[in-house]
Every structure is written in C-alpha cells, then in structure tokens.
Symmetry: C2
C-alpha cells in the first residue's frame, strides 16, 4: 500500500487561527479558519486549538492518512528548540508558555514551532518562489515588515532566534519614530501605517484626486485598497506605491550589500500590487547597492499568497523532520 | 618525530605585501614586509611575490618545517573557489588573474585566496576575540569599512562571494554621497574621510581647541592621530570619536536586528581607540536595536591588531584545509 506523508500547518494569528493539511507537494488538501480563542488560561486556549485540529483532521478525511508532524507559525519572539513562546503582542497570555510540547502531548502528533515569517520563508523555499535557491531573503509586507533568512539552503535563526527583523533595518537615522523605539526603520515607511499615512498626506491634506473611494477595504483606506486602486489605474495610488517601492529599495540595497542573496522574495498584502511596487524597489536597489551583488539577486513576488500561512507553518514541520533524519 | 603544521599568510595590500609563517596556535613565527611590486605584467608580479615567499621561508628557518598551505588575503572582489581576482582597485593589473593557482604552481604549496576582511574574520574566529563563537560579525574600520560574517561557525560568503559589504549599510538615505554611488553609507561617516572631515569641521571651520598637532600622523590629521589625541585626553578628539561611535551604533543596530549575532568584533586603526569609540557605539545600538538581540550580542575590539593581516591570511589556509578534511 502506498502511504503519503501529510503535514499539519497551524497558522496562529492574533485575530484568526488557520489550520490546514498539506500533501507531500505542499498542496493544501483541507483547510479551515477559526476565530482565535482568547482565554486567560493558556491550558484552556491549547485545549481549544486542539479541538480545532481534531475538527480539521476529522473533516478532511485525513484521519486514516499519516500525519507526520505539525508546524505552528506564530508571530512574536519564541524558541523553536523548546517550543516556548517568549513574547507575542497579541497573545500575551501565552507568553512563556511551552506551546508546541503542549499540543504535541494533546494530539500525539510531533509538533514544531517557529516564527510566522520564518515559516513563510520555508514555505517559499520548499514549495514557492525560492525553490532551488540557497541564499534567500524573504520579506512580508503587512502591518509590519518581517524577514526570514535562508543561508546555504537552511533557515538562519541567529544566536537567540531573532534573526531577520528586517522591518527594522534603518533607512534614515533621523527619520520617523518606529514602534520599536528606533528612528527611520523601513517598516515605518513601507509598513501599513507608513503607506496609508503617505496616501493621506496627498489625498486629505493636499487634496489630490483619487478614485480610492471605489476601492475602500471595509470602508477604510488600507494598503490593499491602495493596491487595488493602483491596479485599476488610479494615479495617486500608483504614485504612493512607487514611493513605497523606492523606500523599500533603500532597505533592499542594505540587505543586498549585507548578505549577497540570490533571491529576495516579497509577500504580504501590499506585495500583491506586484511590479507597481517591486519595479521601483528594484530600480532604487540597483541605484544604491554594489554592482556585483545587485546583479546577482532577483527580486520577486512570493508565490504562496493567501495560503502562505498554512503552507509555511506546515513547512516548519517538514523542515524539522528533514533536519532530524 | 613530532612535526608541527605551519601555515603561510600572505597579506596583499595596495601599498605593502606582508608575509608571515604561523604555528598551529596562530602565532607568527616569522614575518616580513615588502613594498608591493607594481608591474604591468601580472606574471612578473606573481614571480616577485613568490621570490618574497621564498625569502620568508628561507629566513624563517621554516624550510625544514612542514608548511601545510598558504592563504592570501586580498582587498576587492574575488572568487575564493577558483582563486581569481575579479576587481581590486589598487592592483588593477591583476583584475581577472587567477592568483592563487599561479602561486600554488610556482611554490608547490596549496594556496587559497579570500577577501582581506573575510581573512580577518577567520583570524579572529580561530585565534582572536571570536574563539568559541558561532554567529559573528567582524568589522574593520580603516580607509573604508569592511565586514565578514560568520554563520554557525563558518564563513558566509553569499551567492557571489560579496557578502559582508557592511560599510555600505545605509544609515541615512538622504545623507552624504559615498564612493560606491549610494547615499548615507556608514563608511562615509565612520571611515577615514568621515572621521577626519568631521574633526576638521570643528577644528578648522569652527576653530575649536585641540592638541591634535602633538599627535599628527606623518604630519597629517588621520583617524590614528585623532585616536592618539583622544587617548591623551584631548576633548575635541574625544567628542569626534564619540560622534563616530554613535553613528557606527546606528549601523550596528541594523546589523543586530538583521543577523542576531552573538558577537561583533571590531578591528582596524580607529578601533584602537577602544571604548572611546566602542562605548558610544554600544549605547546607540542598545537605544535602537530590539531588546532581545541587543541583549544577546557583545561588541568587542579585535585581538589580532597589527598582525591581523598575516594571521587572517594564514587562517584562510587553515579554514580551507579544515573544510577539505
């Protein structure tokens, strides 16, 4: 009998819990989204998560299949070796909690934990845009900007598992104050607030024309709304994305000079604007970075899109099993 | 009979050629400096280098000893796998030349080539301040600023061997124009010209008091002269070093957030000012970097000092032999 290896991906967001089962090719065979259970008692939360896992396995018909391992992608600081969450802003009741051992104990599935951006980087490495590459920087552009670093085909986590805080690469030491306490972090310019504030500076304060109202995101001006407007040809939205790309390109030049990667793969909401943001980013990077490493790198959009969270989390499990054997 | 393994270190500078023999503990048993032979014909230059090597081996009494391998540390861009120099500003006649194969052929000593800053990083890793560390960033502060990256105890060279151009980490995207074409590179502020220009802005233009004349370096105000004046208590020199350290700290924060290293080891002329520059650098890094990686990193002065070039170059050979076996 031919038995395939399946993996469980658990994408632990502050607002939603996504759980899916992937096949050996990284395709999702079943997935489901749950509201994040917010309990003051972490044991209770883990019980809820395990109930969701059981539901997904049950409904997927995977009960009879072999689930080799589960991977959890979590925001915040954590220890992938012990499975302990250290500091997660949106799930503070779990700070200090040994999450993956608790889930492993309850489900009897070997369970591994890593940072959500590292998970995304592994997902792109195994199943997405970074397949076949050895030296990769993965970026997610969302509310914040996160990074994952692949060195010699393996995830690089750093001395205390915080490597890749690429949203906090400085582009202007006298620039805008960032939430992290530093001034001029790229996240402050190309993260959600940076993009929206820059749009509003033109649209609200300078009263420049835009058809953004046709693209509002639940009534709000968001990077997604701006990207949609730009894709529909809105000039102001295009200009704001171009500026965002150029600012991102400043940080990319630092990354290219620093790491000499073969590939920079960029995901997250605003990356869906594609070349409207990536092309000015590439141009600015080429203006600023050394010629040799600039010529050696490709800057591309991530491939996994909306499933990046689940496939990335499953990839944490794939990676852990691969490194064990 | 007990035979020790010796290594040959060849430090190829634009103005001087330093050659030395190191013992298994990385101590120099004999060394000599030669003026760089500048010939239009690269074969002639290599012949001259080989004559210097023969002289060093002869005078050292090492002829009877076992020289396992030779390492060459060179400025510029090169390919450590093939031993080809790609682009060296000060030795342009060698651009494109397969240097280490030519020297290996002439001397019958296995010869390996790497970047001088990578060589320094390996020297500190094997025999200096980075012994026992796994994740290290090495910086040299000189005319320019160079970097070497150690990941998991091994030198990280990047996709096309240019990783670690840390002098070209941006600290101010609208800042001073750098030789590389970028604006606001840290090298422009904490490299030789940046330091000297800042000193002169206070001393010459604002006519602030300083006893720098007592410390001139061959009649010139250089970073070394400023460091000496500062060590002798000169207030303006101290202030300029403090500003330099703070600017360096901005770039260190980016590096710490990026790589989460255990250790940053800083060498090169101005690093001899020690805590006069390192303490403000540490302070500024702590102000700006994430708490977790900032707490995980030590920032220290390099240990190999004046012998860093030879010991580093020999370490390129030690590393190559280690990775072969």
């Amino acid at each position: 009998m031919f038995v395939m290896d399946f993996y469980l991906g658990i994408d632990l967001g502050g607002t939603g819990l996504k759980i899916g089962i992937t096949d050996p090719a990284g395709r999702i065979v079943y997935k489901q989204t749950f509201p994040t259970s917010v309990q003051s008692d972490p044991d209770r939360m883990v019980k809820d998560i395990c109930a969701c896992i059981a539901e997904v396995i049950g409904r997927s018909g995977a009960a009879g299949k072999k689930i080799v391992a589960a991977g959890i992608g979590s925001p915040g600081a954590l220890n992938p070796l012990t499975g302990q969450l250290i500091y997660v802003v949106n799930l503070q009741m779990l700070n200090g909690y040994y999450l993956s051992p608790a889930i492993e104990k309850a489900t009897a599935i070997p369970t591994f934990l890593d940072n959500d951006v590292n998970a995304m980087a592994l997902g792109e490495l195994f199943y997405g845009a970074a397949r076949g590459y050895k030296h990769v920087i993965a970026l997610t552009l969302g509310t914040g900007i996160g990074g994952g670093i692949i060195v010699d085909g393996k995830l690089y986590r750093g001395a205390t598992f915080t490597a890749g805080e690429l949203g906090h690469v400085t582009i202007d030491s006298n620039g805008l104050l960032c939430n992290c306490g530093n001034y001029g972090c790229i996240e402050r310019y190309a993260g959600r607030d940076g993009i929206v504030n820059r749009f509003n500076a033109y649209y609200v304060q300078k009263k420049m024309a835009s058809a953004i109202v046709k693209h509002l995101d639940n009534g709000e001006i968001t990077p997604r709304a701006i990207a949609e407007a730009a894709n529909a040809g809105d000039r102001l939205a295009c200009m704001v994305l171009e500026e965002t790309g150029e600012l991102l390109g400043v940080a990319l030049a630092t990354m290219v000079n620093f790491m000499n990667p073969e590939l920079i793969v960029i995901g997250g909401g605003i990356a869906n604007a594609g070349d409207l943001i990536l092309e000015p980013a590439r141009r600015e990077m080429h203006k600023r970075a050394y010629t040799l490493p600039a010529q050696a790198v490709r800057i591309v959009q991530a491939q996994l899109k909306n499933d990046a969270g689940i496939i990335g989390s499953a990839s944490v499990a794939v990676d852990a099993i691969k490194n064990k054997t």
